[in-house]
Symmetry: C2
DNA sequence: TAATGATGGTTGCCAAAGTCAACTATCTGG
DNA sequence: CCAGATAGTTGACTTTGGCAACCATCATTA
Protein backbone atom coordinates (compact mmCIF):
# COMPACT_ATOMS: atom_id res chain seq x y z
CA UNK A 1 0.00 0.00 0.00
CA UNK A 2 1.17 3.43 -0.96
CA UNK A 3 2.96 5.34 1.77
CA UNK A 4 0.94 8.49 1.31
CA UNK A 5 -2.27 6.59 1.95
CA UNK A 6 -0.82 5.14 5.12
CA UNK A 7 0.27 8.57 6.25
CA UNK A 8 -3.18 10.02 5.64
CA UNK A 9 -4.91 7.23 7.54
CA UNK A 10 -2.52 7.47 10.47
CA UNK A 11 -3.09 11.20 10.54
CA UNK A 12 -6.82 10.60 10.74
CA UNK A 13 -6.35 8.10 13.54
CA UNK A 14 -4.31 10.60 15.51
CA UNK A 15 -6.60 13.54 15.01
CA UNK A 16 -9.80 11.70 15.62
CA UNK A 17 -8.37 10.19 18.79
CA UNK A 18 -7.49 13.66 19.89
CA UNK A 19 -10.90 15.05 18.99
CA UNK A 20 -12.58 12.43 21.15
CA UNK A 21 -10.06 13.04 23.93
CA UNK A 22 -9.68 9.32 24.31
CA UNK A 23 -6.38 9.64 26.02
CA UNK A 24 -7.67 11.80 28.84
CA UNK A 25 -7.76 10.18 32.20
CA UNK A 26 -11.28 10.87 33.32
CA UNK A 27 -13.86 10.08 30.81
CA UNK A 28 -16.05 12.96 29.67
CA UNK A 29 -15.66 15.08 32.81
CA UNK A 30 -17.13 12.46 35.04
CA UNK A 31 -15.24 10.99 37.96
CA UNK A 32 -15.20 7.66 36.20
CA UNK A 33 -12.27 6.31 34.28
CA UNK A 34 -12.74 5.16 30.70
CA UNK A 35 -12.54 1.59 31.94
CA UNK A 36 -15.21 2.08 34.57
CA UNK A 37 -17.49 3.70 32.00
CA UNK A 38 -16.96 0.83 29.61
CA UNK A 39 -17.72 -1.70 32.31
CA UNK A 40 -20.95 0.02 33.32
CA UNK A 41 -21.92 0.33 29.67
CA UNK A 42 -21.25 -3.31 28.90
CA UNK A 43 -23.09 -4.55 31.97
CA UNK A 44 -26.04 -2.41 30.94
CA UNK A 45 -25.88 -3.95 27.50
CA UNK A 46 -26.19 -7.40 28.97
CA UNK A 47 -22.66 -8.59 29.57
CA UNK A 48 -23.23 -10.16 32.92
CA UNK A 49 -20.20 -12.01 34.19
CA UNK A 50 -16.67 -11.02 35.04
CA UNK A 51 -15.35 -13.57 32.62
CA UNK A 52 -17.28 -12.12 29.71
CA UNK A 53 -16.00 -8.67 30.56
CA UNK A 54 -12.49 -10.02 30.72
CA UNK A 55 -12.70 -11.43 27.22
CA UNK A 56 -14.48 -8.41 25.80
CA UNK A 57 -12.19 -5.79 27.26
CA UNK A 58 -9.02 -7.87 27.23
CA UNK A 59 -8.33 -7.38 30.90
CA UNK A 60 -6.28 -9.27 33.42
CA UNK A 61 -8.73 -11.19 35.56
CA UNK A 62 -7.04 -10.23 38.80
CA UNK A 63 -7.21 -6.58 37.95
CA UNK A 64 -10.77 -6.84 36.75
CA UNK A 65 -11.73 -8.55 39.97
CA UNK A 66 -10.44 -5.57 41.90
CA UNK A 67 -12.13 -2.99 39.68
CA UNK A 68 -15.42 -4.81 40.06
CA UNK A 69 -14.90 -4.95 43.80
CA UNK A 70 -14.48 -1.19 43.83
CA UNK A 71 -17.59 -0.63 41.71
CA UNK A 72 -19.47 -2.89 44.07
CA UNK A 73 -18.18 -1.02 47.09
CA UNK A 74 -19.28 2.25 45.45
CA UNK A 75 -22.71 0.69 45.01
CA UNK A 76 -22.74 1.01 41.24
CA UNK A 77 -23.03 -2.70 40.53
CA UNK A 78 -24.11 -5.72 42.49
CA UNK A 79 -23.35 -9.36 42.00
CA UNK A 80 -24.91 -12.66 42.78
CA UNK A 81 -23.87 -16.23 42.25
CA UNK A 82 -25.24 -17.81 39.13
CA UNK A 83 -27.86 -20.29 40.26
CA UNK A 84 -26.69 -23.00 37.87
CA UNK A 85 -22.92 -22.56 37.87
CA UNK A 86 -21.88 -21.31 41.25
CA UNK A 87 -18.43 -20.27 40.12
CA UNK A 88 -19.92 -17.48 38.04
CA UNK A 89 -20.75 -14.12 39.51
CA UNK A 90 -23.56 -12.45 37.68
CA UNK A 91 -23.35 -8.69 37.49
CA UNK A 92 -25.96 -6.01 37.26
CA UNK A 93 -26.21 -2.28 37.70
CA UNK A 94 -27.70 -0.90 40.87
CA UNK A 95 -30.09 2.05 40.63
CA UNK A 96 -27.16 4.28 41.37
CA UNK A 97 -25.16 2.55 38.66
CA UNK A 98 -27.95 3.20 36.20
CA UNK A 99 -27.97 6.85 37.15
CA UNK A 100 -24.22 7.03 36.74
CA UNK A 101 -24.48 5.49 33.31
CA UNK A 102 -27.15 7.99 32.37
CA UNK A 103 -24.81 10.80 33.22
CA UNK A 104 -22.04 9.20 31.22
CA UNK A 105 -24.39 8.89 28.26
CA UNK A 106 -25.53 12.46 28.57
CA UNK A 107 -21.95 13.64 28.57
CA UNK A 108 -21.11 11.49 25.60
CA UNK A 109 -24.09 12.91 23.75
CA UNK A 110 -23.06 16.39 24.75
CA UNK A 111 -19.57 15.78 23.45
CA UNK A 112 -20.97 14.77 20.10
CA UNK A 113 -23.23 17.82 20.11
CA UNK A 114 -20.32 20.13 20.81
CA UNK A 115 -18.35 18.67 17.98
CA UNK A 116 -21.02 18.26 15.35
CA UNK A 117 -24.02 20.43 16.11
CA UNK A 118 -22.92 23.45 14.11
CA UNK A 119 -22.38 21.49 10.96
CA UNK A 120 -25.06 22.23 8.34
CA UNK A 121 -27.61 19.44 8.21
CA UNK A 122 -26.83 18.34 4.70
CA UNK A 123 -23.12 18.16 5.35
CA UNK A 124 -23.74 16.30 8.59
CA UNK A 125 -25.77 13.63 6.84
CA UNK A 126 -23.00 13.14 4.35
CA UNK A 127 -20.39 12.81 7.12
CA UNK A 128 -22.46 10.23 8.94
CA UNK A 129 -22.81 8.29 5.74
CA UNK A 130 -19.05 8.45 5.30
CA UNK A 131 -18.53 7.18 8.82
CA UNK A 132 -20.69 4.19 8.22
CA UNK A 133 -18.89 3.57 4.98
CA UNK A 134 -15.52 3.64 6.72
CA UNK A 135 -16.37 1.13 9.39
CA UNK A 136 -18.34 -1.11 7.08
CA UNK A 137 -15.59 -1.21 4.52
CA UNK A 138 -12.83 -1.81 7.04
CA UNK A 139 -14.80 -4.61 8.62
CA UNK A 140 -15.50 -6.13 5.27
CA UNK A 141 -11.93 -6.15 4.03
CA UNK A 142 -9.83 -6.26 7.15
CA UNK A 143 -7.54 -9.19 7.77
CA UNK A 144 -7.52 -8.47 11.47
CA UNK A 145 -8.55 -11.50 13.39
CA UNK A 146 -11.37 -11.23 15.87
CA UNK B 1 -29.27 17.77 17.26
CA UNK B 2 -31.37 14.80 16.35
CA UNK B 3 -30.90 11.74 18.56
CA UNK B 4 -30.46 9.38 15.66
CA UNK B 5 -27.54 11.41 14.35
CA UNK B 6 -25.93 11.32 17.76
CA UNK B 7 -26.43 7.61 17.96
CA UNK B 8 -24.86 7.06 14.56
CA UNK B 9 -21.85 9.21 15.38
CA UNK B 10 -21.32 7.54 18.73
CA UNK B 11 -21.55 4.20 17.01
CA UNK B 12 -18.79 5.29 14.66
CA UNK B 13 -16.66 6.50 17.56
CA UNK B 14 -17.08 3.21 19.34
CA UNK B 15 -16.36 0.99 16.39
CA UNK B 16 -13.47 3.00 15.04
CA UNK B 17 -11.92 3.03 18.50
CA UNK B 18 -12.27 -0.70 18.51
CA UNK B 19 -10.69 -0.95 15.10
CA UNK B 20 -7.73 1.02 16.36
CA UNK B 21 -7.60 -1.24 19.38
CA UNK B 22 -7.03 1.81 21.51
CA UNK B 23 -8.47 -0.02 24.44
CA UNK B 24 -5.69 -2.52 24.18
CA UNK B 25 -2.33 -1.46 25.47
CA UNK B 26 -0.76 -1.42 22.10
CA UNK B 27 2.96 -1.25 22.13
CA UNK B 28 3.02 -2.49 18.55
CA UNK B 29 5.24 -5.27 19.74
CA UNK B 30 8.08 -2.95 20.52
CA UNK B 31 9.48 -2.46 23.99
CA UNK B 32 8.25 1.12 23.98
CA UNK B 33 5.12 2.26 25.69
CA UNK B 34 2.49 4.13 23.72
CA UNK B 35 3.59 7.33 25.40
CA UNK B 36 7.23 6.86 24.56
CA UNK B 37 6.31 6.23 20.96
CA UNK B 38 4.21 9.37 20.84
CA UNK B 39 7.00 11.43 22.34
CA UNK B 40 9.57 10.19 19.86
CA UNK B 41 7.11 10.82 17.06
CA UNK B 42 6.32 14.34 18.15
CA UNK B 43 9.95 15.25 18.65
CA UNK B 44 10.66 13.98 15.17
CA UNK B 45 7.86 16.17 13.88
CA UNK B 46 9.48 19.22 15.36
CA UNK B 47 7.99 19.55 18.81
CA UNK B 48 11.15 20.46 20.60
CA UNK B 49 10.56 21.38 24.19
CA UNK B 50 9.15 19.57 27.18
CA UNK B 51 6.58 22.26 27.65
CA UNK B 52 5.24 21.87 24.13
CA UNK B 53 4.98 18.13 24.66
CA UNK B 54 3.18 18.71 27.91
CA UNK B 55 0.54 20.85 26.25
CA UNK B 56 0.20 18.62 23.23
CA UNK B 57 -0.10 15.35 25.11
CA UNK B 58 -1.83 16.72 28.21
CA UNK B 59 0.78 15.34 30.57
CA UNK B 60 1.78 16.22 34.08
CA UNK B 61 5.07 18.05 33.83
CA UNK B 62 6.68 16.09 36.63
CA UNK B 63 5.84 12.83 34.99
CA UNK B 64 6.94 14.06 31.60
CA UNK B 65 10.22 15.17 33.06
CA UNK B 66 10.88 11.65 34.28
CA UNK B 67 9.89 10.01 31.02
CA UNK B 68 12.21 12.33 29.14
CA UNK B 69 14.97 11.55 31.60
CA UNK B 70 14.53 7.88 30.91
CA UNK B 71 14.55 8.39 27.15
CA UNK B 72 17.72 10.44 27.54
CA UNK B 73 19.34 7.76 29.67
CA UNK B 74 18.43 5.19 27.02
CA UNK B 75 20.14 7.45 24.47
CA UNK B 76 17.03 7.92 22.35
CA UNK B 77 16.85 11.67 22.74
CA UNK B 78 19.25 14.38 23.77
CA UNK B 79 18.61 17.81 25.12
CA UNK B 80 20.34 21.14 25.21
CA UNK B 81 19.50 24.43 26.78
CA UNK B 82 17.83 26.86 24.45
CA UNK B 83 20.39 29.54 23.65
CA UNK B 84 17.93 32.39 24.10
CA UNK B 85 15.75 31.20 27.00
CA UNK B 86 17.86 29.09 29.27
CA UNK B 87 14.88 27.65 31.11
CA UNK B 88 13.89 25.74 28.02
CA UNK B 89 15.39 22.38 27.18
CA UNK B 90 15.37 21.71 23.49
CA UNK B 91 14.89 18.11 22.52
CA UNK B 92 16.02 16.08 19.58
CA UNK B 93 16.30 12.47 18.60
CA UNK B 94 19.66 10.76 18.69
CA UNK B 95 20.62 8.43 15.84
CA UNK B 96 19.43 5.57 17.98
CA UNK B 97 16.19 7.43 18.63
CA UNK B 98 15.68 7.84 14.92
CA UNK B 99 16.23 4.14 14.38
CA UNK B 100 13.78 3.32 17.16
CA UNK B 101 11.22 5.60 15.62
CA UNK B 102 11.68 3.93 12.28
CA UNK B 103 10.80 0.59 13.82
CA UNK B 104 7.78 2.07 15.55
CA UNK B 105 6.64 3.61 12.30
CA UNK B 106 7.08 0.36 10.43
CA UNK B 107 4.92 -1.42 12.96
CA UNK B 108 2.29 1.30 12.91
CA UNK B 109 2.28 1.25 9.14
CA UNK B 110 1.91 -2.49 9.19
CA UNK B 111 -1.07 -2.18 11.47
CA UNK B 112 -2.71 0.21 9.02
CA UNK B 113 -1.84 -2.11 6.14
CA UNK B 114 -3.50 -5.03 7.87
CA UNK B 115 -6.68 -3.06 8.20
CA UNK B 116 -6.82 -1.29 4.86
CA UNK B 117 -4.64 -3.09 2.35
CA UNK B 118 -7.33 -5.28 0.85
CA UNK B 119 -9.62 -2.41 0.05
CA UNK B 120 -9.77 -1.70 -3.70
CA UNK B 121 -7.70 1.34 -4.59
CA UNK B 122 -10.57 3.47 -5.75
CA UNK B 123 -12.61 2.79 -2.64
CA UNK B 124 -9.60 3.45 -0.48
CA UNK B 125 -9.06 6.86 -2.03
CA UNK B 126 -12.64 7.74 -1.34
CA UNK B 127 -12.40 6.61 2.29
CA UNK B 128 -9.27 8.69 2.84
CA UNK B 129 -11.00 11.67 1.36
CA UNK B 130 -13.92 11.07 3.71
CA UNK B 131 -11.56 10.89 6.68
CA UNK B 132 -10.03 14.20 5.84
CA UNK B 133 -13.45 15.65 5.34
CA UNK B 134 -14.54 14.45 8.78
CA UNK B 135 -11.65 15.96 10.68
CA UNK B 136 -11.59 19.15 8.63
CA UNK B 137 -15.29 19.72 9.06
CA UNK B 138 -15.27 18.97 12.77
CA UNK B 139 -12.36 21.30 13.30
CA UNK B 140 -14.06 24.00 11.29
CA UNK B 141 -17.40 23.89 13.08
CA UNK B 142 -16.58 22.52 16.49
CA UNK B 143 -17.23 24.59 19.58
CA UNK B 144 -14.64 22.65 21.52
CA UNK B 145 -12.23 25.00 23.12
CA UNK B 146 -8.55 24.23 22.82
C1' DT C 1 -18.14 -42.12 42.31
C1' DA C 2 -13.49 -40.74 43.13
C1' DA C 3 -9.86 -38.71 40.62
C1' DT C 4 -8.38 -35.38 37.28
C1' DG C 5 -8.34 -31.45 34.91
C1' DA C 6 -10.59 -27.24 33.40
C1' DT C 7 -12.88 -22.87 34.58
C1' DG C 8 -14.36 -18.50 37.17
C1' DG C 9 -12.88 -15.71 40.37
C1' DT C 10 -9.77 -13.85 44.49
C1' DT C 11 -5.60 -12.55 46.63
C1' DG C 12 -0.64 -11.26 47.59
C1' DC C 13 3.09 -9.28 45.72
C1' DC C 14 5.19 -6.42 42.78
C1' DA C 15 6.48 -2.88 39.01
C1' DA C 16 5.12 0.66 36.04
C1' DA C 17 2.37 4.70 35.31
C1' DG C 18 0.70 8.88 36.80
C1' DT C 19 -0.38 12.85 40.35
C1' DC C 20 0.65 16.61 43.32
C1' DA C 21 3.16 19.97 45.62
C1' DA C 22 7.33 22.12 46.79
C1' DC C 23 11.43 23.63 44.82
C1' DT C 24 15.26 25.87 41.60
C1' DA C 25 16.49 28.60 37.85
C1' DT C 26 15.40 31.78 34.58
C1' DC C 27 12.78 35.23 32.26
C1' DT C 28 9.57 39.39 31.80
C1' DG C 29 7.23 43.69 32.77
C1' DG C 30 7.06 47.60 35.60
C1' DC D 1 15.92 45.81 40.86
C1' DC D 2 11.59 43.43 42.35
C1' DA D 3 7.31 40.61 41.82
C1' DG D 4 5.28 37.57 39.30
C1' DA D 5 5.30 34.19 35.68
C1' DT D 6 7.33 30.20 33.30
C1' DA D 7 10.28 25.73 32.32
C1' DG D 8 11.70 22.08 34.35
C1' DT D 9 13.13 18.84 38.55
C1' DT D 10 12.44 16.23 42.59
C1' DG D 11 10.27 13.69 46.58
C1' DA D 12 6.45 11.42 48.21
C1' DC D 13 2.77 9.48 47.18
C1' DT D 14 -1.61 6.75 44.72
C1' DT D 15 -3.40 4.21 41.01
C1' DT D 16 -3.10 0.99 37.42
C1' DG D 17 -1.99 -3.24 35.80
C1' DG D 18 0.54 -7.95 35.43
C1' DC D 19 1.68 -12.37 37.27
C1' DA D 20 1.27 -16.42 39.79
C1' DA D 21 -0.55 -19.05 43.46
C1' DC D 22 -4.71 -20.12 45.26
C1' DC D 23 -9.82 -21.65 46.27
C1' DA D 24 -14.24 -23.25 44.88
C1' DT D 25 -16.95 -25.32 41.56
C1' DC D 26 -17.89 -27.89 37.49
C1' DA D 27 -17.23 -31.53 33.80
C1' DT D 28 -15.23 -35.81 32.21
C1' DT D 29 -14.12 -40.34 32.57
C1' DA D 30 -12.09 -44.64 34.29
Amino acid sequence: MNIENIRAIREFNRSYTKILKLTDKYHLNTHFTLLESRILLEIDRGVNSANQLMLLLHLDKGYLSRVLKKLTKDDLIQDARDSIDKRIKTLQLTDQGKKALEIINQRANQQVENLFANIPEEKLQSLIKDMQDITDTVKKYSQAKE
